[in-house]
C-alpha cells in the first residue's frame, strides 16, 4: 500500500512542481526546482547562533538532509549550554532573522519577531516527519543532542497538500503549486535555559515559556557539492 501511494504521489509532486500556467522561463525554473528537490543528494544548513546573550554561550548546530529516492533522512544536532527541549522546524522563508527584526528593541529576537523573517512552519522536525500533526511536537532535549529521523517524501508531501486543520496558527499547508524545495528554506531551533538575563518583554508561542520559545540557532539549507 505504501509503495502504491508512492507511485501515485511522486507524479503529483513533479506535476505540481512544473504546474501553473506561467510562461516558458517560469516553467523552466519550475522544472529546475523540481529536479533539485527530488534529486538524490545531501543538503545542509549550518545552524548559527541567534540570541547568544540569552545564556552566555555561542550555540552551534547543523541540519543535514539526505534524499535517496523517495526516502528523506534528516539529521540535526545542536551543541548548546541549555538542557531544555529544543523545538526545531523547517520554515517557508529563505533568510534567518537579524537584529532588524527586534521590533521591541529588547536586544533579542523573540519567537514572534523571528517568525516575521523565517515564515510559517512547513515541517516540524519532531517524532514523526510524515505529517505535521503526527509527531506530537516531541522534540530533542538536552544541551548537546543529535536527532535522526527518516520519512517517505511522498507521505510527507501528501500531508502537506491536505486541508489545514487549524487555520491561522504558525503551521502552514501547501497551496496549489507550492513545492517542497528544501534548498533555500530556513531551519530554526528554539529553547534556552530560564535565566534572569532574559528580558520580560519576550514574545512567545501561546502558553509556552518564553525561554523555550526563544530561537537559538538558525540556518539556510544549501546543497552539499
Amino acid at each position: 500500500m505504501k509503495n502504491l501511494t508512492m507511485i501515485m504521489i511522486l507524479p503529483l509532486l513533479v506535476l505540481t512542481a512544473c504546474g501553473g500556467d506561467s510562461g516558458g522561463s517560469d516553467k523552466a525554473q519550475g522544472e529546475t526546482n523540481a529536479a533539485v528537490e527530488a534529486s538524490d543528494g545531501v543538503y545542509h544548513a549550518h545552524l548559527r547562533p541567534l540570541n547568544p546573550r540569552s545564556n552566555g554561550y555561542l550555540p552551534h548546530g547543523g541540519a543535514t538532509f539526505r534524499i535517496d529516492g523517495d526516502k528523506l533522512s534528516v539529521t540535526t544536532f545542536l551543541d548548546d549550554a541549555s538542557g531544555v527541549i529544543h523545538r526545531q522546524s523547517i520554515h517557508t522563508g529563505t533568510i534567518c532573522p537579524s537584529l532588524s527584526e527586534d521590533k521591541n528593541r529588547d536586544g533579542m529576537i523573540d519567537y514572534t519577531e523571528a517568525l516575521s523573517a523565517v515564515g510559517s512552519v512547513m515541517i516540524p522536525l519532531d517524532a514523526d516527519l510524515s505529517a505535521q500533526e503526527k509527531g506530537a511536537e516531541i522534540y530533542p532535549r538536552g544541551q548537546s543532542f543529535t536527532y535522526n529521523k527518516s520519512v517517505f517524501i511522498s507521505e510527507m508531501v501528501k500531508n502537506l497538500y491536505e486541508a489545514d486543520p487549524v487555520l491561522n496558527d504558525e503551521f502552514i499547508k501547501f497551496s496549489r503549486g507550492d513545492r517542497l524545495k528544501l534548498v533555500g528554506r530556513v531551519v530554526l531551533v528554539h529553547g534556552t535555559n530560564a535565566s534572569d538575563l532574559l528580558p520580560g518583554t519576550l514574545g512567545t508561542r501561546g502558553s509556552e515559556e518564553a525561554n523555550l520559545a526563544l530561537p537559538v540557532v538558525c540556518g539556510v539549507i544549501s546543497p552539499v557539492p
Binding site: P49, F77, D79, A81
Partner: protein, 277 residues
C-alpha cells in the same frame, strides 16, 4: 598513569552538565568570593575561594574537570603535571626576534571568495583556535595570502556578570582595501554567514556593546581585568593561542613560520575528513 590523581570531588552535584579536558591557562579573581579558571581552549570554570589553593598549584597542568550547569567546577582530575607541559611548550620555540609581519591587502570581493572557500566541515565542539589555525594555513598555502588572527579576550568581571562560558575567542582576520581605507574583516565561518567587521563580530559576544580595548600587550588584559569588558589583540597567522601572544612579551618568542605538525594536529582535532555527511 602515574601522573593521574584526583584533586577534589564535591558530592552535592546540581545537574552536572559537562566534562572538559584541557590545560589550565590561568586563574583570576572574578568577585570577592569567586575565581575563574581559564582553560587553554578558551572555556572558563568558576571555582570557590576555599578550593583556590589546589587549583592555583595546577596552573599549566592538563586536567579533566566536570562543570555544573552554571559552569562551576565540581570535580577535577590532574592528568599531566605542569612541569612536563612546560617542557613540551619550550620545544616549540620558533624564533626569538620580533619578525616583521604584514598582512596581504585584498579586495572586498576576495574576502567574500575566501569566506566561501573556507572548510565548513568542522567537528562538533571543535576549538576556535584549531579551526582558525587551519583556515589561515589553508588559505596561505592556496593563495599566499597572509591573514591575521583577531583574539577577543573577555575580562573576569564581564565573564562573571553575564556568565559567559569563554575567556577568549579567535577567528581569521583579513586586511581589506576599501574606498574608506583599510578595513579589518573577520571570517568566522562557524558563527557568521559572511565576512563581518570587528564590531559586528564582537557584538555577538559582548552583550554590553562596549568596544573591546585594543592592546598589544597580553599583560594589559591580564593584570587589570576589571575595568573593561574585553580586550582585542591582533596576532599573525602563525599565532594559535593567547599563550603565543603572552610569550611575545614574557619570553620574546614571536612565531614566524608554520609548525606543520601543529597544523596537522589542529586539523585532526577540528575537522572531519571529506564533505559534510
Amino acid at each position: 598513569m602515574k601522573n593521574m590523581f584526583y584533586v577534589f570531588v564535591l558530592f552535592s552535584f546540581p545537574a552536572l552538565s559537562e566534562t572538559l579536558t584541557d590545560k589550565i591557562h590561568s586563574v583570576v579573581k572574578s568577585s570577592p568570593d569567586s575565581h575563574i579558571v581559564r582553560f587553554q581552549n578558551g572555556r572558563v570554570g568558576f571555582v570557590r575561594s576555599d578550593l583556590l589553593r589546589v587549583i592555583k598549584t595546577s596552573v599549566g597542568s592538563e586536567v579533566q574537570v566536570r562543570l555544573d550547569s552554571r559552569s562551576v567546577i565540581r570535580q577535577m582530575t590532574i592528568l599531566k603535571a605542569p612541569r612536563e607541559i612546560y617542557d613540551i611548550y619550550l620545544k616549540q620555540i620558533l624564533d626569538v626576534d620580533p619578525p616583521p609581519f604584514e598582512p596581504t591587502m585584498i579586495s572586498s570581493a576576495k574576502v567574500k571568495e575566501i569566506f566561501s572557500s573556507l572548510n565548513p566541515n568542522f567537528r562538533r565542539l571543535s576549538e576556535c583556535s584549531d579551526r582558525t589555525h587551519v583556515w589561515a594555513f589553508d588559505e596561505f598555502k592556496k593563495s599566499g595570502i597572509k591573514s591575521q588572527k583577531a583574539f577577543v579576550l573577555f575580562t573576569a568581571s564581564y565573564i562573571n556578570r553575564v556568565r559567559f562560558k569563554w575567556w577568549f575567542h579567535v577567528a581569521p582576520m583579513f586586511a581589506v582595501e576599501t574606498s574608506g581605507g583599510i578595513q579589518k574583516m573577520i571570517t568566522d565561518v562557524m558563527y557568521k554567514d559572511r565576512p563581518v567587521s570587528l564590531k559586528e563580530w564582537t557584538s555577538m559576544m559582548v552583550f554590553s556593546e562596549r568596544d573591546c580595548k585594543m592592546t598589544r600587550k597580553f599583560s594589559e588584559y591580564d593584570v587589570n581585568p576589571q575595568t573593561e569588558d574585553c580586550y582585542m589583540m591582533f596576532g599573525s597567522m602563525y599565532d594559535r593561542l593567547p599563550s603565543d601572544l603572552s610569550a611575545q612579551e614574557t619570553v620574546g618568542i614571536f612565531r614566524s613560520e608554520w609548525n606543520e605538525t601543529e597544523v596537522s594536529g589542529a586539523r585532526a582535532r577540528a575537522f572531519n575528513v571529506g564533505r559534510i555527511l
